[in-house]
Assembly symmetry: C2
Homo-oligomer: 359 residues x 2
């Protein structure tokens, strides 16, 4: 659902309307069906809404209407004016999405933007959406953010910190963690067998051998060594200004960036409208548009759904890859079992069975 | 000349060869004609070299050969291996260029990249090229760097400092100085009557009202106020990640950036090959390619001259604008003189004379 006073409803309806051209996977909203109907009427969007009782109905309904698993909003619903009386329902929507994904009743969760201060006013105590998801999913490790647009995947190692604090917070362990989680996700969710990571430097010219700053020598290079020691293909520290032109981007699958704007400046310069925020390191697939609630234009029908559409499409692609990898893994595990059985019994059907599962 | 062991000779020769397609203004090198001949022969560049004795000959020679005002290099000349015995001559080339420009015998100076450590070994004591130029020209004020590519002009307020030191060095006066000098140059050298400046924030989301850093509130916003009070059209502080996509760039003539990579990441992402470094606030026009000496590829004939070509073209355009502005100004001053005379004598020819000078 996200913040109901923002553009979330509008971009969800517009994404459903674009489902064919955009080749989107079937999705359903966890939202208030009446408020979505009013939203569609207000903005002249010819998107019918159909309430479903169970996610299993979504696939079928999706062809003719936007399927909505209903949640009634108790507060006021004025575009651009968030009401903290709705905050608990916004969080319920998120919790419900997560538990459906956990149970395998949804293959991925796509979150609409929330208004943090409204959630805080209602007693929410997490730095953001992502940290709350990690808690709901009992993540063993802090999640890692990746931003994707056509042509670039960028992983900010530090995120919502003042720049000075981000420099102070930068450490070897953080870079190693981000790199390991990113590489694992690129393999599992993006189908890249041997992911190549490029790590940006912090200082101008990546510190120019120490004369323009020592973080590259003291922190970044040792982190790169550790990632390489773990068998990953990692280059850097590279001068950040020469890392994002088209030819440079050919040479890696994801760039590890050391602060928010080092990742976001190139991403939004290259493709302002279609950036997607992906949370890596969770047990479920989760994406979101890379913009906010846009309260200033809510309810006017002028919101651009490109980022939401890209988030839905990417979630579908990641879920498919993960499903395939899971099937392959299950197949291999199964094959392993058979193999050990074979050692005992001398049969050979195990490898064939695994290959069948890989299709 | 720049560092003779680098790619400077090669890109100068290639720029001369491209003079027609690239519509370059006439230029001459201050260099060793023999080493340029050897360079051309080694790299198979069909660029004849012709020695000139005076800049006045350059315009004519330029049509058939690269005009070279000769300076003999005393040291060894091996591509990729700088010899500090040549350092003094590299600096002489720069000094000669500056004095010719001062005397009006050249309309602009374009500098090839130098190898700073070689100059330092020979006793050079300036942080860089630019500061040395400012000293040679007795500049009253520190010069300001602007980077230009098709679609973006970016002015880094701090430059070659470690990122942490750049944040510490950031102050209101520095932003006001960079903004004033940039606005003045955009008017005089770029012909933009009312330049629009956009100032980037330092922190993620430009500090989000103070919750992600206070520099926007304490330093950047007051500087913007002072620039506005001086009559300039200035917006910001803007989140840096949303400042550089195509639609955003339509809304300003130059972006003031608070640190090196904030300017260089978008510039080199948008156009890696054609960036030009312009020094603003000098009494002469000076541009340079935005890359280094590229010792690793020197002498192989593979260097890309695009940035040098763009630097030469931009220098020509700026010199033309400045000349026109100078003529207009002289005309206005002249008109002013006549006007005061007219007040005494009642004549009206002054305004006509000034208008003639504006053509």
């Amino acid at each position: 659902m996200g913040e109901p006073a923002g553009i979330g409803g509008e971009i969800t309806l517009k994404a459903w309307l674009a489902r064919k051209e955009a080749t989107l996977p079937a999705f359903f909203a966890i939202d208030d069906p009446d408020r979505l109907r009013r939203e569609a009427a207000r903005e002249g969007l010819a998107a019918p809404i159909e309430t479903i009782e169970h996610p299993g109905q979504a696939q079928d309904v999706f062809r003719r209407a936007l399927p909505v698993l209903p949640l009634r909003l108790p507060g006021t619903l004025e575009p651009g004016k968030p009401d903290s009386a709705n905050a608990e329902t916004v969080l319920t929507s998120l919790r419900r999405a997560v538990s459906l994904a956990r149970e395998g009743l949804a293959l991925a969760v796509v979150t609409n933007p929330v208004q943090k201060r409204v959630l805080y006013a209602a007693g929410f105590r997490h730095p953001g959406h992502t940290e709350y998801l990690a808690e709901l999913l009992d993540s063993r490790q802090p999640p890692v953010m990746m931003l994707c647009c056509p042509g670039l995947r960028a992983v900010p190692v530090t995120i919502h910190l003042p720049l000075k604090a981000a420099i102070e917070a930068l450490d070897e362990a953080g870079i190693v963690h981000a790199g390991s989680v990113a590489a694992e996700a690129l393999r599992r969710d993006f189908g890249i067998a041997r992911p190549r990571l490029a790590v940006a430097g912090l200082n101008p010219h990546a510190g120019e051998g120490g004369s323009l700053g020592r973080e590259e020598i003291d922190i970044v290079a040792p982190a790169i060594e550790r990632l390489r020691a773990a068998g990953l293909a990692v280059t850097g520290p590279a001068p950040a200004d020469t890392l994002f032109h088209a030819a440079a981007r050919e040479r890696y699958d994801a760039a590890l960036c050391l602060y928010h704007d080092q990742a976001l400046i190139p991403l939004k310069t290259i493709d302002f409208d279609r950036g997607v925020n992906v949370t890596l390191g969770l047990s479920i697939v989760r994406t979101s548009p890379d913009h906010g609630t846009a309260l200033d234009i809510a309810g006017q029908g002028v919101a651009n759904p490109s980022s939401m559409i890209a988030a839905l499409r990417l979630a579908g692609q990641m879920a498919t890859k993960r499903l395939q990898a899971g099937i392959a893994e299950a197949g291999i595990a199964e094959a392993g079992k058979h193999k050990s059985r074979k050692t005992k019994a001398g049969h050979v059907e195990a490898a064939d069975a695994a290959q069948g599962n890989l299709v």
